[in-house]
Subunit: 346 residues, 2 copies
């Protein structure tokens, strides 16, 4: 807290409605203006003594550096945009990204989309904020990706990968993860017939997971694989189980869900509405490793995405490119960890 004299001075500044500038701070502390600005620049070299002197003046005058004005001079806004297609499925991801950017003195401008296809409208808004970089947990078209290159704005995809476009991405290996799940199912007893509940049609992640599961199932000689579609939500998992029952007349040995939340819906529908035993009658597997997968009600067999490692990789990959735009694109693919829940019969 400022002392009495300082507080009066602060009030004087306030009452004359004059904005306190770094010049005022420099004058008051008897140092150069560049010394003041170094005290507010993350990583800039400044002696302890100098910092103490400047901070005393800052406190007395009630000075706040203007990050936006500084951004115009340094050509850095110290803001990044994070675009997520559905925050409700990614609270941990946004939380992790936000914490890691904050550690680096960078702030997160959050854009949430109702549908992946809304992204082009969002980009128009992103451009206006002159962000230093963008993390996208949403699908972009090659044309949209090209506009980042034109504008020299580093872009890192989170859990979206592109085979024919050179762009940075951090992903969980969806294919490998699904194959591990299928291997678990095939090793476990009596799994012969299968159904897959997919995510929404515009989700690339869902397509990859479904493709991974189908490929491995075919390799294992499974000929009977029914595919029904969901939207990643709990209710769609319930509805999909009903659809499987309608189309097959009974239940397959295992239901493979494109995410955990649909697996919860499927399990609840089987147990509480259709009176099937999970895993006695039907095994259920998911993907993601959300918190509720470990809850005793579900104890779901799933692939746990290493969210902390992936978030750290995405943030450092982006900031490296903000510092050095010449770095080549890079793809980092993290293996998920198989969670052996009791939703697969032994």
């Amino acid at each position: 807290m400022a002392k009495a004299g300082a507080s009066t001075r602060k009030e004087n500044f306030a009452s004359t409605k004059r904005h306190v500038t770094s010049y005022d701070v420099a004058q008051h502390a008897g140092v150069s203006q560049s010394a003041v600005s170094r005290c507010f620049k993350p990583g800039a070299s400044v002696s302890k003594k100098m910092r103490a002197r400047v901070m005393a003046a800052v406190e007395e005058l009630g000075y706040t550096p203007n990050a936006i004005a500084r951004g115009l001079i340094t050509r850095r806004s110290n803001m990044v945009a994070v675009i997520v297609s559905n925050l409700n499925f990614y609270p941990e991801v946004v939380s992790e990204l936000s914490a890691r950017f904050t550690e680096r003195g960078v702030h997160v401008l959050l854009f949430t989309l109702d549908h992946e296809s809304d992204v082009s409208r969002t980009l128009q808004q992103v451009w206006q904020y002159q962000v230093d970089g963008v993390i996208a947990a949403a699908h972009l078209s090659p044309d949209e990706i090209a506009t980042f290159v034109e504008r020299d704005i580093p872009l890192v995809f989170y859990n979206r990968s592109y085979e024919d476009v050179q762009v940075c991405s951090v992903s969980c290996d969806q294919i490998e993860g699904e194959r591990a799940l299928i291997n678990r199912l095939v090793e476990a007893s009596r799994h012969r017939s299968f159904a897959i509940i997919t995510g929404p049609a515009d989700s690339v992640v869902s397509m990859q997971r479904t493709r991974g599961a189908l490929e491995r199932l075919r390799e294992c000689g499974a000929t009977e694989v029914l595919q029904v579609s969901g939207d990643y939500g709990y209710r769609s998992g319930c509805r999909a189980v009903q659809e499987i029952l309608d189309r097959r007349g009974d239940m397959p040995d295992a239901i493979i869900c494109a995410n955990d939340v649909m697996a919860f819906g499927a399990m609840d529908e089987l147990r509480y509405r259709l009176d099937y035993d999970v895993p006695g009658d039907v095994s259920v597997v998911g993907f993601d490793g959300v918190r509720a997968a470990a809850w005793a009600s579900f104890d779901l067999a799933t692939v746990v995405q290493p969210v902390e490692s992936m978030a750290e990789a995405a943030v450092s990959m982006l900031m490296d490119r903000v510092d050095n735009p010449e770095l080549p694109p890079e793809k980092r693919l993290f293996s998920g960890v198989l969670r052996n829940g009791s939703s697969i019969r032994g």
Copy 2:
């Protein structure tokens, strides 16, 4: 998409590395610079014909208005800060707020805290971004609240209310909600003994909910109320049930949890580890109405916060004060909706 000639012109601009300004657009379209800026100002009056003419030039030249530079002129950044104490418990809230600000052309700078007590460090960062306003789903001290007044930055609390400080807030009525839950429990048969699982010690919401429950229980003549503490997380709900068992030797008739997620932990611990029937042996109630409360595994009796109405109220309350800083502080208190789940025995 731009036609061939236009695309060449865009490339010329790009190749000379000259930044396209609103002056260039005005020249190219043969209109005034103020007409160009009106086209980018939400709500500004501009004829259809004028807009078409300007937008054609914008498209041809590849112009993007600089929101940050505009912010320096208009003294508006068109950004607001949203401070949340734990994003994992509030994904719906942040999602709703973000969608509603986006509709208004305002962007969200997200700050997440690990603990409510980290807020003062976060405020130092918020000031640097010259945001137009702040929504705080975190507790601030009266001194911290006073700095918003000094800086003329509108502040709206989300689910935090203050009795002795004049400040805007949008809340769910925690006390009324808890009373309704207790009434439900008391009306239902054979509930005589109770335990309360509280949230973290620094959560004002948890304190209010606990106080509401205790007051109503006393009014109803319940003398036996054990209080144990949790941290809003699932595991803490499990642990709290163990602690209740250790301290009482058996289970009370009902367990009142300060949020839904701890109630899920309590239910799972009772059912799957301790072999109690919920609700046959023990009733469990929560608070919040998160999505999983409606899942068949839990079907939890709880108070559903009207998140959409509360988010809309918080956003419009804040933006009204950005437009007109003279508006007096206002508190809006929304009633929660009692969800009659099957976790209370009949």
